[in-house]
């Protein structure tokens, strides 16, 4: 396999875009990535697009082809991939694989979702497409409900408290305040979180990532092309995808996701680094408790100690390992198909040393994108060149 670099990255603001459709958002992000990579469009040999509920919520399919057409790309294999909330991460990995395998020298990965026009009940129903409808779906379980169940199991096993989980909400929304791509950054207090509307006990409104629109894109290519790029390239050290339990029945003790553990283990091996070398991680905090579980599954924090680390500030920007310095899904929102590539965008800015919430001296960054009930996962390790 050949080495692969990120040559350019682009992203829209994640938030509400009432006047722009999914294709427009995706084309805008991709244009930014292509301009920054400074490669001729003819060199782009593959397009992978991550999207989850576009068909259900907007009625628009063939997004990969529409976006390529909007960018003036011709005769290129355009593929939409879907892995629930991990759709973007899967698109990125396939673009990386195309270059690594030598099928093309440059590939484009785009992620996009358009959700804010639909009501909460309709979005909840659409996201429930990622439940197994022969098993868990009929019960009326929802994704907030699933993570509420995990929280209860985690609390029972490790004593994780409301105060610890709230520390995640407070940190991420504060990080979002100074990230121009995050429209949901805000200063909140533990009292505000605890007193907010209950969504699925014990999750309140502030434990949930907001419904958002947005798109992100990256151009990946062989490192030789980095000389032409308008910004510093970033090397892809590992790009891993795993499957995991599709049904709740397949999840052992409900305090961990096997897909994340397997992906992280493989990613560390591929990159040839130990977890302690990771300076920051953009991980899948679709709900506050998810950040605690993910950080343990990724091997960054010992099992059961994620809550304590958050409360002690060890996951802040200046802490032992900076978690979601961008503000994560909680402050950026979660335009589902865009999220995995939005994480790459944030990591690339960090490794270039020009993120608005810069982690001092960041050399190695990780991204983690988790789909559905943990049925799909991608983990990437990126490094400053």
């Amino acid at each position: 396999m050949r080495p692969v670099s990120v040559l350019g990255a682009g992203s829209t603001v994640f938030g509400r875009h009432p006047d722009h459709g999914a294709v427009e958002l995706a084309v805008a992000a991709a244009r930014q990535a292509i301009v920054e990579a400074n490669v001729a469009r003819e060199r782009i040999g593959a397009v992978y697009l991550g999207n989850f509920v576009g068909g259900v919520l907007t009625g628009q399919e063939v997004l990969a082809g529409l976006v390529a057409d909007g960018l003036g790309l011709r005769d290129v294999p355009c593929t939409k991939v879907e892995g629930a909330c991990a759709s973007g991460g899967i698109a990125f990995r396939h673009a990386v694989l195309s270059v690594a395998a030598g099928l093309c020298d440059v590939a484009l990965a785009v992620g996009v979702e358009k959700m804010s026009h639909a009501g909460t009940a309709a979005v909840t129903q659409a996201l429930n497409c990622a439940l197994d409808h022969a098993a868990d779906g009929p019960s009326g379980l929802t994704y907030p409900g699933l993570f509420a169940l995990l929280w209860q199991a985690h609390a029972r096993r490790y004593g994780t408290t409301r105060e610890q989980v709230s520390a995640v909400c407070i940190k991420n929304r504060r990080n979002g305040l100074t990230n121009p791509l995050a429209s949901m950054g805000t200063e909140i207090t533990a009292d505000m979180i605890a007193n907010a509307a209950m969504i699925a006990d014990p999750l309140t409104l502030y434990d949930c990532c907001p419904i958002s629109d947005g798109a992100a894109a990256v151009v990946v290519g062989i490192p030789e092309l980095a000389r032409e790029a308008l910004a510093d390239p970033v090397r892809v050290l590992a790009s891993v995808q795993t499957s995991g339990g599709a049904r709740i029945a397949a999840h052992g003790d409900l305090t961990s996701f096997r897909a994340t553990r397997a992906a992280a283990e493989r990613a560390y091996a591929d990159a040839g680094i130990a977890p302690a070398r990771v300076d920051f991680v953009e991980l899948h905090d679709c709900f506050s408790i998810a950040e605690i579980i993910d950080s343990e599954d990724l091997g960054l924090i010992p099992p059961g100690e994620g809550g304590r680390w958050a409360l002690e500030g060890r996951t802040d920007r200046g802490g032992d390992v900076a978690i979601n310095p961008s503000g994560g899904l909680e402050a950026k929102g979660h335009p589902v198909g865009a999220t995995g590539i939005g994480q790459i965008y944030e990591a690339v800015q960090q490794l270039r040393g020009r993120h608005p919430n810069q982690v001092a001296g960041a050399r190695i960054g990780m991204t983690h994108n988790l789909g559905g009930t943990g049925v799909a996962c991608t983990v990437n390790i990126l490094a400053r060149e």
Partner: protein, 109 residues
């Protein structure tokens, strides 16, 4: 019906593995010889939550409590709780209380 209620699951005729939902083949050995088997609707509550924002199509049901139950037979099923206000703690003993269409509804026992 209380504790006497049973739940139908699937058992592989080739290797004996149990599966709570129909999938056509045994995920342990890929045999396609699956038999329906009734098991006791008793078990331990793994976790439960009150769904206050149901998905479209289930709005009329809400709020309702979804429960993950580890049946004594050795499989995990997802259903609902008959009395969410009881505040059952994880680990509590529960038994099948009835059915809401095809959804098993559990209660303390």
């Amino acid at each position: 019906m209380a504790a006497s209620g049973s739940i139908t699951i699937f058992r592989c005729a080739a290797c004996g593995a149990l599966d709570p939902t129909p999938r056509g083949v045994c995920r342990a050995c890929l045999s396609d010889r699956l038999e329906r088997v009734a098991v006791a609707g008793t078990g331990a509550l793994a976790a439960a939550t009150l769904i206050r924002r149901p998905p479209k199509g289930m709005d009329a049901d809400g709020p309702y409590a979804v429960a993950v139950v580890d049946l004594d037979a050795g499989v995990r099923v997802v259903g609902r709780l008959a009395h969410p206000e009881a505040g059952l703690a994880p680990g509590s003993r529960v038994a099948l209380h009835g059915w809401q269409v095809a959804i098993p509804v559990f209660d303390a026992c």
